[in-house]
Structures are given as C-alpha cells and as structure tokens.
Symmetry: C2
Subunit: 184 residues, 2 copies
C-alpha cells in the first residue's frame, strides 16, 4: 500500500510542479498532505531542483529564446550572397511554424524567408517591399528544409526587381517576384 502511495504521490508532485512551477516545498507539502521532508526526499529521488533553481532555469531559457527571435533581422540562414545579384538562404520548418492540426507550414514563414532574402540581396542601405507576386506550389510540412534562391533581374531607379524560388529536397514549393523600393 505504502509503496503505491509513494509512487502516486511522486507522480502528483511532478504534475503539480509542471502545472505551477512556482510552488515552494512548504506549499507542496500542504497540497499533498505530507511533511516538508517527504517532499524534499521526493524531489531528491526524482531529480527535481529547488524552486529557485527552477525559476532561474526558466528565466535563462526565456532569455536565450528572446534573443534568437529578436536576432532575426533575416528569416532563415544566409549561406551565400552576391550583393546586387543573387543570394541563397536555408530555413528548416520547425514545429512552431506549422498548423497544429494539419502539420502544414503557415504561409507567412515561407514568405518571410523569401522576403528577407530579397531585401538582403539588393545593394541598398534601406529598402522596403513595394509589390510581391507569390505562388505556393505545394504544401510544406514540418521537418522540411527549404532552400531559397534570389536573383536580381532588373533595376530601374530606386526599384529592384527580385525573383525568389524556394525548393525543398524534391521540388520547387514556392516562387515570388518582388519589387523592392530603396529609401532615398
């Protein structure tokens, strides 16, 4: 009986901490109706760190996450660039980028990769997107690696005409024509 009790309690402990990670041992003890020492023993056995460590961990994780998002001036990884001519970028479709239900990538991620590549490839200090013509050819799934190739096909005044073609391993999945406008 006691053996089951213990397993059950530890299970509950794990769940409680997962659902609300800011509980102290004292609060947990009250919730599970055991002594603080039991909680501490359980934490030790289960390898769950103390409240402060948990909190710190979460804060640190958050920091690195925020950084990697705000770093994203360019969506995707730029692997080749000839300013004013062409460029290539790679992006992996991660689980955050897809619709939960269908596991198909949201269109704007693919667009974002192409758009920021188009922006990177033109030789101008500051520019905005003016016009875009876009075609999605096939649905894109989680785990796929997209390679986008951009080419500057024409330049007239402050307008740059850029074509971007995106492939997965198998075929072309997306293509776009951008007109980028450089600012003064």
């Amino acid at each position: 009986m006691a053996r089951i009790q213990k397993k059950q309690r530890q299970q509950q402990l794990v769940e409680k901490i997962k659902s609300s990670p800011f509980l102290t041992d004292e609060e947990l003890a009250r919730l599970l109706d055991v002594s603080i020492q039991t909680i501490r023993l359980d934490r030790l056995e289960l390898g769950i760190p103390e409240l402060r460590e948990r909190t710190k961990q979460m804060a640190e994780d958050a920091q690195t996450k925020v950084k990697s998002i705000s770093k994203g001036e360019v969506v995707g990884e730029l692997i080749d660039l000839e300013l004013g001519k062409s460029g290539i970028s790679i992006m992996n479709i991660t689980p955050e980028m897809v619709f939960e239900r269908t596991q198909v990538a949201r269109g704007h991620y693919v667009f974002s990769q192409a758009n920021s590549l188009a922006l990177a490839v033109i030789d101008a200090p500051a520019a905005v997107t003016g016009v875009a013509n876009i075609k999605y050819k096939t649905p894109i799934r989680v785990g796929e690696k997209l390679v986008a190739k951009a080419e500057v096909v024409k330049q007239r005044g402050n307008k740059y005409f850029v074509w971007v073609k995106t492939r997965n391993d198998v075929q072309e999945v997306f293509r776009a024509k951008f007109i980028m406008v450089s600012l003064d």
Copy 2:
C-alpha cells in the same frame, strides 16, 4: 564631484543589470568597485528588486509570453468575422517588428496579418495559401495601428479568392489578393 560619481555609478548599475540580469549584489559591488551596501542603497533608490525577484519576474513573463505566442494561430487580433464573407483584424506595430535603423516595419509582419486573416475568413477546415498579389503603398512605422479588412470575392471549387486591404489611421498602406486553396 561625489554627486556626479553617484549618478554615473547608478547609471552603470542600471546598464549592467539590464545587460546581464543574473548578477548578485556581491558581483556588482566588485564590478563597480564599491561596497555591497552601496549597491544595495543604489538598488533601493532606483527601485531595482533583488536578483531573485528579477529572476522570478523574468520567468513569469516568459510563461505568459510563451502562452500568447503559441496562441497566435492568427497574427493580429481578430475583431470581426463573418465566415465565408469578411473579417477584420487589428495589429499594433511594436518595436520588435521594425528595422532598428529605419524604424520601418518589416514587410512580412504586415503580410502575416493579412495572410492569416485571409485564412481565417474562408469557411474551410484546412487550407493553404496558393497565390498572393501584394502591394505595399507606404512605409509603416513603429506605433501605428493597422486595421486589415478581408473580403471573400469569389469561390470556385476548392479555391477562394480573398482581397485584403490594410489601413493605418490615415490611409491605405497595403493591399493583397490571395487565392487560398482548401485541402480536401
């Protein structure tokens, strides 16, 4: 002299904590070459909470942020929706959405708002973007509030033709035509 010293030091303190928020008072004292008590006095004056509070705050913020991001199947806030007909969404341009240098919004955020609204408005269980025709009319700056209106103009088989027009307070800033394709 001493008065300037103090102001300067407190300035430095604020910056140090901002850039690496996991410093203890002791470490800060060493870095700024004053006693721990001075650091504590400064923190008190500046209303900066202790390390543990800061850590906790960050962890809590992160929790709610993760939630609100994962909620974001729709970019922008959906404020009106008539399935199969029309929809309206609002999005505020925050500092994370603009280029640091020019303070102009990155095109893909505006696209994302329009694209996810187009997706929301069509009456289909699952769909992807097929084609998009996009025009950015003016640069968009930080702080602006964008109102996007979508309208389903035609439906043929599993293809939906959706027009989206986005305005700020003053004028139309963006317009797009989407062909959305519903999946079986």
